[in-house]
């Protein structure tokens, strides 16, 4: 190796040239040496280039008046015209507001829920019971929102749902859970928690299992009760995991659950339930305002990405965990 470098240095004039050509040579050699690894990577890269980076190029539509027949290159450039439309228009801000409000509710109520459930499950000694509870609570996570919408439309039905039947037999009027704009967001948040609470416990239970059992034994000797142990040992031990999950959940505040909202949304609750992703779908695919919808989507993606960068730098500063 060393004699090779010396030889090159003698032949060329500047040392920089010899070093970089040496590096280029060895990189090429590395690809040749590990070519099978690269062969494995090629179909994977092809996938990402076509189906992930391809659409990223398509983002340019947001800056053009896109006519499908003319294609992307043939459509005229209009700069920020569509973004002006988005921000000065009537509908976008309603949709933006709904997205943020629903995400915030989900954060406030949905974030602590799996933690509390995990703490309770952690207390169970009987393995069979513990595993059964977990299996049951994992179930909704695996079910699609088409099915769940079918289930909840039936379960919350004003005429047939058990809650309304009980209300009506007590002389109350039935509650239109899915049709009442005052209740719709609550239903969205509750059903979302119902669906994911079990799945959400997995990571917290994993963290809890890493706590040193001796800590509990010592606390026992000091006369600590169950909830004192939870408060003083379990929770502080899993605090890093909680913090990291909180940071990333907060960073997703502009994201929404298209599947859920789309399947439960109806005309009576559009004002409160329409979110960014459903708006983009309707404007772009049903009304074919391709450029406008792409602009809305781009706005959301940029904010989402900025939040990821922000939350990740916060995460890196506060704990050892981060994405990169």
């Amino acid at each position: 190796m060393q004699s090779e470098t010396t030889t090159i240095r003698e032949e060329k004039s500047g040392s920089t040239i010899s070093r970089s050509s040496h590096r280029k040579k060895s990189l090429f050699k590395q690809y040749v040496k590990n070519r099978y690894l690269f062969y494995m990577l090629i179909p994977v890269l092809a996938f990402y280039i076509i189906f992930h980076y391809g659409p990223m190029y398509g983002i340019v539509i947001a800056f053009k008046d896109f006519y499908p027949l003319r294609g992307i290159l043939g459509s005229p450039w209009v700069g920020l015209k569509h973004f002006h439309e988005v921000f000065s228009g009537l509908f976008f801000w309603d949709v933006f507001r709904n997205t943020i409000i629903i995400s915030s509710y989900k954060l406030i109520f949905g974030f602590p829920a799996p933690i509390i459930l995990a703490l309770l499950i952690n207390e169970v000694r009987h393995m069979g019971f513990k595993k059964t509870i977990q299996t049951v609570t994992y179930l909704p996570h695996f079910i699609s929102w088409v099915v769940l919408a079918g289930i909840f439309i039936e379960f919350l039905s004003p005429s047939r749902g058990p809650i309304n039947v009980i209300l009506q037999s007590m002389g109350q009027k039935p509650v239109y859970f899915l049709g009442d704009p005052r209740l719709f967001r609550g239903v969205i948040v509750s059903t979302s928690i119902w669906k994911e609470i079990g799945w959400g416990t997995i990571i917290y239970l994993a963290a809890m299992s890493g706590v040193d059992p001796e800590l509990y034994d010592v606390a026992e000797l000091d006369g600590a009760g169950r909830f004192q142990k939870m408060w003083n040992i379990t929770l502080p031990s899993i605090l890093p995991v909680i913090v990291i999950m909180l940071i990333f959940s907060a960073g997703s505040i502009i994201n929404d659950d298209f599947d859920q909202i789309f399947n439960l949304l109806n005309n009576s609750v559009m004002q409160v339930g329409d979110v960014i992703s459903t708006y983009v779908y309707r404007e772009g695919l049903t009304k074919m305002n391709y450029s406008y919808a792409t602009a809305v989507g781009l706005f959301k993606n940029i904010i989402s990405f900025a939040l990821v960068l922000l939350t990740n730098s916060i995460a890196r500063k506060t704990s050892e965990y981060s994405i990169w």
């Binding site: 590990n34 690894l37 990577l41 994992y138 699609s144 099915v147 997995i202 990571i203």
Partner: protein, 285 residues
């Protein structure tokens, strides 16, 4: 256990049982309605157990030809999609797991970047359309062929295998393909089970891609058929093709059950695998 600890345990157990019941409760109504007669359904009262056990809803469903078409299409996409996905995921994960991969950080970086930024719905739709994939199986299995999250988990798993295994195989003259298929994969059954489940369930539950890429009913997957059954007659049909059909409720609920029972039966068998998978994935090394 002291008596106060015992009461504490009982309270916790009761709360957990209530949580489990709350999870199961909404399903109860669906099952009941699917097994009831229309008269019983329309009668006022709680529908938690069928008053008269009746298979009429299921019979109507079995006679609905689209449900068979939907089942067939879903099974096809689950089998082909999951196989393709696992194949690509394993290739990518193994390659990214090897430290000798040239420009490894760069390749990993451009792949992970796609988890946080993308083109969005409209550009993706236009791409699939321009590639001529609409109304083909490929529109359903190609765009989502690799889940970056699944690939990262698999990569982390491969990285946790003892390097001596691969090194000794290389000394024996094996190339990476042989190492992957003959040595690494047989040791990776747990992670393969996990991603097989996740990809499989993902394919089973997919409906939106079918909605935007398939024009004809013959291309509908099960979830799409279910959607149509549930919504027919309730909202004006944008295609103007359907006559105002309102499907009987017991048939609708039978469809709900049939669309989800296979998943409900399968996932418990994979429980220990996917629990481990989540742990491996989130506590990234």
């Amino acid at each position: 256990m002291t008596s106060s600890e015992r009461t504490g345990q009982i309270i916790i157990d009761i709360i957990l049982i209530l949580v489990a019941l709350t999870t199961v409760f909404p399903f109860l109504q669906v099952i009941t309605v699917s097994l009831s007669t229309t008269a019983d359904i329309n009668a006022f009262g709680l529908h938690l157990f069928p008053k008269h056990f009746d298979l009429g809803g299921f019979k109507l469903l079995l006679g609905y030809s689209l449900i068979w078409r939907g089942y067939l299409n879903t099974i096809i996409r689950v089998l082909t999609g999951t196989t393709l996905s696992i194949f690509l995921t394993v290739l990518g994960a193994y390659a990214l797991a090897q430290k000798e991969l040239p420009n490894r950080t760069f390749w990993t970086g451009i792949i992970i970047f796609t988890m946080y930024f993308g083109g969005g719905l409209i550009p993706s739709y236009l791409l699939v359309k321009d590639l001529g994939l609409r109304n083909t199986l490929f529109a359903l299995i190609l765009p989502g062929a690799i889940s970056t999250y699944n690939m990262i988990i698999t990569r982390n798993f491969f990285m946790s295998l003892p390097k001596s295994l691969i090194e000794s195989a290389k000394i024996d003259g094996a190339n990476d393909f042989r190492i992957l298929f003959q040595i690494v994969l047989p040791l990776s059954k747990a992670i393969l089970a996990t991603i097989a489940l996740w990809y499989g369930v993902g394919q089973w539950n997919s409906w939106f891609d079918c909605m935007i890429y398939m024009d004809k009913e013959s291309g509908y997957v099960l979830q799409m058929v279910l959607r149509r059954l549930l919504l027919q007659g309730q909202q004006p049909d944008p295609n103007g093709v359907d006559v105002q059909v309102i499907n009987p409720d017991n048939m609708k609920m039978a469809a709900v059950i049939v669309a989800t029972v296979p998943i409900m039966c399968i996932y418990p068998f994979f429980q220990k695998y996917f629990v481990k998978g989540v742990m491996v994935g989130s506590l990234k090394g």
